[in-house]
């Protein structure tokens, strides 16, 4: 389900790229076997050595001209056109996006914003199926690259620059993606999920996301433990954007940008010592007493 | 029979003497200048890259255009020095020691004057703009600084050649050192022309 394969496209764009790959692959296989066959014939046909033959062979030179220049030129020009023909499918300009989501790459998680940044979530992008969605990316720190292979090509996430890629899923599903530009120690654990769902479910999800969390004992524990120094929960008094947003955390599938599955046990492990699980990430080991950890887990998992 | 004549006869049936091509030292210096020239080309390309990536005016953020007069005088001085260098070089090619010494001396003094003005220019510009101001400032000072470093190297080279010239080391036949110093100096002058056009003139267009 959480496949990250370029060969299982779930959108028109990814399909176009996969088609291009198969063309390139077939041509390559043919060329490869022709060359290897010639090589084997050349080496095995007339072995034996002896005095060097110093004649110049007109036929051999003609062979070089045809096989080494003319044929490759024809092949390469055809492939060039095949590649150019695929370009519009993967370019943001060619699409009429009906919705925009802003994604900010951070060391080492993804900040996701809906409705001109009024709704914030992290490490999960929900999109409606069959609707072209423009993903606008930028970075607050170093260069990342947003890559969800089943939906589209990757797009580099560069500070000081906003770039776009279009996600237009043609089937519902959860598509895993990952940072594809080296961005520091935890580059390997900077994944995200794109959840494509039917429009009505998506709308329900978005409406739910817009709701602030109710004030509760859990919220004050969250603030009291120091979590809110970095993490925001909509409705909480303090809104730090340093760490991932935790509003509606109970609905998320993973912890630590795809590092762990979101279960109460794993969450407790994570809070106990995030540095053991994702060494070098920016969340310190707080050394909280066990009951406080359990209370936090209960609270966070209740945020639906 | 000399070895060269021997080898020439062995490979070349005609009696015509082969034309002398450039020597190893000449090639070495030309390649040095080629790679250093590329270095400046890359620096100036970076300057224009940043310029065209910057929206709004150039220089950015209301920094005034660089003043022309002093830079113009500097460029003229340095260009003039290359003519003296040429006089020195063509002088020794005809065996004229005096032309060599005087030409080198004049070129050296003009180069020194340029360096003085460059320091003055740097001090004046630095009142408004430093390398830490922004990318424009960094590029401006990096380009001019790199040029000054090459200029100083050129002056040292010229001083060395100059001293040797006083001792009469060079002759009509043997003056590779002068030739090499000259190539390097023309390069330093050419870079200054490129800098003047790029850093001083183009912001006004």
């Amino acid at each position: 389900m959480r496949d990250q394969s370029t060969l299982k496209p779930a959108s028109h764009a990814a399909q176009a790229i996969a088609d291009l790959w198969w063309i390139l692959f077939v041509v390559s296989v043919i060329v490869f076997f022709v060359v290897v066959a010639l090589l084997l014939v050349g080496v095995l046909r007339r072995r034996g050595g002896g005095e060097p033959d110093r004649s110049t062979s007109r036929g051999a030179t003609k062979f070089v001209a045809i096989a080494g220049v003319v044929v490759p030129a024809v092949v390469v020009i055809s492939l060039f056109f095949a590649s150019v023909a695929t370009l519009p499918a993967v370019s943001p300009a060619g699409k009429n996006a009906r919705m925009t989501i802003d994604v900010v790459g951070r060391q080492w998680f993804w900040d996701v914003y809906y409705r001109s940044r009024s709704i914030r979530t992290s490490n999960e992008i929900h999109i409606p199926v069959g609707v072209p969605v423009e993903i606008r990316v930028t970075s607050d720190d170093v260069i990342h690259s947003l890559w969800v292979p089943r939906l589209n090509r990757k797009i580099d996430v560069i500070p000081g620059q906003t770039s776009s890629v279009v996600f237009d899923a043609n089937k519902a599903g959860v598509f895993r993606g990952q940072c594809a530009e080296f961005c520091g120690v935890e580059h390997g654990n900077m994944a995200l999920l794109v959840i494509a769902e039917p429009q009505t479910r998506f709308d329900r999800w978005l409406t739910n996301e817009a709701k602030p969390a109710p004030a509760s004992a859990g919220l004050s524990a969250f603030v009291g433990s120091g979590c809110s120094g970095c993490h925001a929960i909509s409705g909480a008094p303090q809104q730090s954007r340093f760490g991932p947003d935790l509003s509606h955390f109970g609905l998320r599938q993973t912890i630590g940008a795809g590092t762990l599955t979101n279960t109460p046990e794993q969450l407790a492990d994570w809070i106990r010592d995030p540095q053991r699980i994702k060494p070098g990430n920016k969340m310190p080991k707080l050394g909280l007493p066990e009951p406080e950890i359990q209370a936090l887990v209960r609270y966070l998992e209740s945020l639906q | 029979m000399t070895t060269v004549a021997y080898a020439r006869r062995a490979t070349e049936p005609t009696t015509e003497a082969a034309p002398r091509s450039a020597s190893n030292g000449w090639w070495g210096m030309v390649l040095l200048v080629a790679t250093e020239g590329t270095l400046f080309a890359v620096l100036l390309a970076s300057y224009f890259y940043v310029r065209f990536k910057t929206s709004g005016g150039w220089p950015p953020d209301g920094i005034a255009d660089p003043k022309l007069l002093r830079a113009f005088v500097m460029t003229v001085l340095l260009t003039a020095s290359s003519f003296f260098m040429y006089a020195a070089e063509s002088g020794i090619r005809r065996g004229r020691q005096r032309a060599l010494v005087l030409g080198l001396g004049a070129a050296f003094l003009l180069g020194l004057a340029f360096l003085g003005l460059q320091i003055w220019e740097t001090v004046v510009v630095a009142r408004e703009l430093t390398p830490r101001t922004d990318a424009y400032g960094s590029l401006f000072f990096t380009v001019t600084g790199a040029h000054s470093a090459h200029l100083v190297a050129g002056l040292l080279l010229m001083a060395w050649i100059q001293v040797r010239a006083w001792f009469g080391v060079y002759s009509q036949r043997r003056h590779l050192g002068v030739q090499m110093a000259a190539i390097y100096w023309y390069f330093v002058v050419a870079v200054q022309l490129a800098i003047f056009v790029s850093l001083y003139l183009t912001p006004r267009i």
């Binding site: 990757k154 990952q178 | 070495g28 890359v42």
Partner: protein, 627 residues
């Protein structure tokens, strides 16, 4: 005749001992030093690779920390590119170019010694970071802003940036030396269209070095100024642009691929005709293809940046240029094939490595074509597919030929034969191990595995391919170990080699194995592109030696010829041994360590030492020799 040779022995002899070790300017000794030093770095980079493969053998393995892993892959790439392949090929060039063109040394022997010492010093400079745990850690292309002080505050990046600026001095000086040597020191009669193809390759490479390396120097200088002096070039908040680094880096970086690859191609073009027992087919085509590759290599750098969101029109242009580079490669492949097809091949180890090269390189070339297709590139760049691709091109395209060259020229360099069976065993281990290591990476890349990750979760279909890769890396390492053992064993026990064990076509095979200090007792006169197959000409050389003609025995002498026609022009007096290159390299080291440690007083002192060493170098009566 004896008297002449004795005279040459005396003139060219270098005194024994440590002093001679530091002062030698013999291109053969320097060449062999290059080979050994570069190989030592290769072993280091190989160990780094094996540790990485062990870490990636299974998902969520905890063998090394992410911080260590980052240093491993950064060092591995930097070492392989700058400290192994480039200097290894410089080593072959140093040893072979003068021998192939019938000269007695390089054009600037002392500069040559300097190139080696600076290579060694800069390599040690970069590796001195390892004991402190401060090795470069942002990858070999070291993108900003990650490599800026805000994100990598320690000295890791300073080791990288200063080290690369440092080694550039060596590479550039070496390139200039090669160009002048090839232009000016060819034996009389060796017009440029009779020059060995290896020399064409070295020539094209050297020009690429002259024009590509300044871009790397500028980029790293800017980075150092930004990191340590508060300059701004790459920060958008201060009017800079992070993509400027990428442009500068790849304007250097893509030509550098060909800087690595072209001399290796030259080795292939040397081996193919000799073991096919026939003159190479399409000499002119091959020479032209070599030069074209060097030139077109400068026009394709943007294909490393297709995912950065550049305008489509510029991507289309660079895509077309990248497709075009297939043509010269096609010429080369089919010229070699035609030579084999019309020859009578002999399957010895060097030739096996060349055949392995063709197979592997064709795969790397084909995946290279795929990356010219913009949408495919945007999908698979920075994935394991690209890791597979460039190992097929660089390991396949450069290291296989290097191993071919090691076996091919081993008898010439050592005077002994390597063990043929061990050689063939090593080939099969390397060939199988290589493909087992890198072929599965194509698949894991297509399955979405990004490069430079220190670990990965299970369940994405990557596990088996990674395990296969790790197993393959062990096999590959075993093959390389066999090569090392074969070399060490053969150096002492190998059968004595004749001067021409393969029936070679180029001039290095016309002199003894190993060659005397002066290379050739008499300067050869050349009348074809396969001079060592011109038996009559070589007999004439021997006769001239008897008659005492064209000997050049008065000091370190060789013959200068014209650039294109190779007509004799003048006798050159080459400088003899000198300690100054070594001293100058030490002085440069003082400068760079001063800059690294922010000891600017020390750095200034170093600059004074550099100036002093240059003055000392030129102090003696050099004017006569310069001319």
């Amino acid at each position: 005749m004896e008297a002449h040779v004795e005279r040459l022995e005396k003139v060219w002899a270098e005194p024994a001992g440590i002093v001679s070790f530091l002062t030698s300017v013999d291109h053969k000794r320097i060449g062999i030093r290059y080979l050994f030093t570069a190989f030592a770095f290769f072993v280091a980079a190989g160990i780094e690779a094996l540790v990485m493969r062990a870490q990636l053998a299974r998902p969520r393995e905890g063998l090394v920390s992410p911080e260590t892993f980052d240093q491993l892959f950064s060092l591995h790439g930097t070492t392989m590119i700058f400290l192994f392949v480039t200097p290894m090929l410089s080593g072959f060039g140093n040893y072979l170019v003068p021998l192939m063109i019938g000269a007695r040394d390089m054009a600037f022997p002392r500069l040559n010694a300097l190139s080696y010492w600076i290579f060694l010093a800069s390599g040690l400079f970069i590796y001195s970071s390892v004991p402190f745990g401060l090795a470069p850690n942002d990858g070999w292309f070291n993108y900003v802003p990650l490599s800026e002080k805000a994100f990598t505050p320690d000295k890791n990046i300073d080791f990288y940036a200063l080290g690369l600026i440092f080694i550039t001095i060596s590479t550039t000086a070496g390139a200039a030396n090669f160009i002048v040597t090839i232009f000016k020191l060819r034996a009389p009669g060796m017009s440029i269209n009779r020059m060995p193809l290896f020399c064409w390759a070295v020539l094209a490479t050297s020009f690429a070095v002259i024009f590509a390396l300044p871009s790397l120097t500028v980029a790293n200088t800017m980075l150092e100024l930004e990191r340590n002096w508060g300059f701004h070039f790459f920060q958008p908040a201060h009017g800079g642009d992070p993509l400027l680094w990428q442009h500068l880096f790849w304007i250097f970086g893509h030509p550098d691929v060909y800087i690595i690859f072209l001399p290796a191609i030259g080795i292939v073009s040397s081996v193919v005709p000799v073991f096919s027992r026939r003159s190479i087919v399409g000499y002119e085509w091959l020479a032209l293809a070599t030069v074209l590759t060097g030139i077109v290599g400068f026009g394709v750098w943007v294909h490393h940046m297709f995912a950065t969101g550049l305008p489509q029109i510029s991507m289309t242009f660079f895509s077309a240029a990248s497709f075009m580079i297939v043509i010269p490669s096609g010429i080369q492949i089919f010229a070699w094939l035609a030579t084999m097809l019309t020859g009578r091949p002999v399957l010895k180890t060097p030739f096996l490595y060349v055949l392995g090269f063709v197979v592997v390189f064709v795969i790397g070339g084909l995946t290279g074509v795929m990356f010219a297709a913009v949408p495919f590139d945007q999908q698979t760049t920075d994935s394991y597919f690209v890791v597979a691709h460039f190992h097929y091109v660089l390991f396949g395209g450069a290291v296989f030929p290097i191993f071919a060259g090691v076996h091919y020229w081993f008898p010439k360099m050592s005077g002994r034969m390597y063990h043929e069976l061990a050689g063939q065993v090593s080939f099969w281990l390397v060939f199988v191990g290589f493909n087992l290591t890198f072929f599965p990476m194509h698949v894991s890349g297509l399955l979405g595995m990004p490069r430079r990750v220190y670990t990965y979760p299970s369940g994405l279909g990557w596990d088996a391919y990674n395990l296969l890769s790790t197993i393959g890396s062990g096999v590959l390492a075993a093959g390389i170990l066999v090569i090392v053992l074969n070399v060490l064993w053969s150096l002492r026990r190998g059968a004595p080699a004749l001067s021409d064990p393969w029936g070679g076509n180029t001039l290095e095979w016309s002199t003894s194995s190993p060659p005397p200090h002066f290379n050739f007792p008499v300067i050869p006169i050349v009348r074809s592109a396969d001079p060592n197959w011109d038996l009559e000409d070589r007999r004439q050389d021997a006769l001239r030696l008897e008659r005492g003609e064209l000997l050049l025995v008065d000091g370190h002498q060789t013959l200068a010829t014209t650039v294109l026609e190779g007509e004799a022009e003048e006798e050159l007096h080459m400088p003899s041994e000198s300690i100054w290159p070594f001293v100058l390299a030490l002085a440069f080291s003082v400068v760079f360590f001063g800059l690294l440690l922010h000891l600017y007083g020390v750095a200034t002192l170093g600059c004074i030492l550099v100036a002093g060493s240059i003055a000392g170098w030129h102090r003696p009566q050099r004017e006569l020799q310069d001319q």
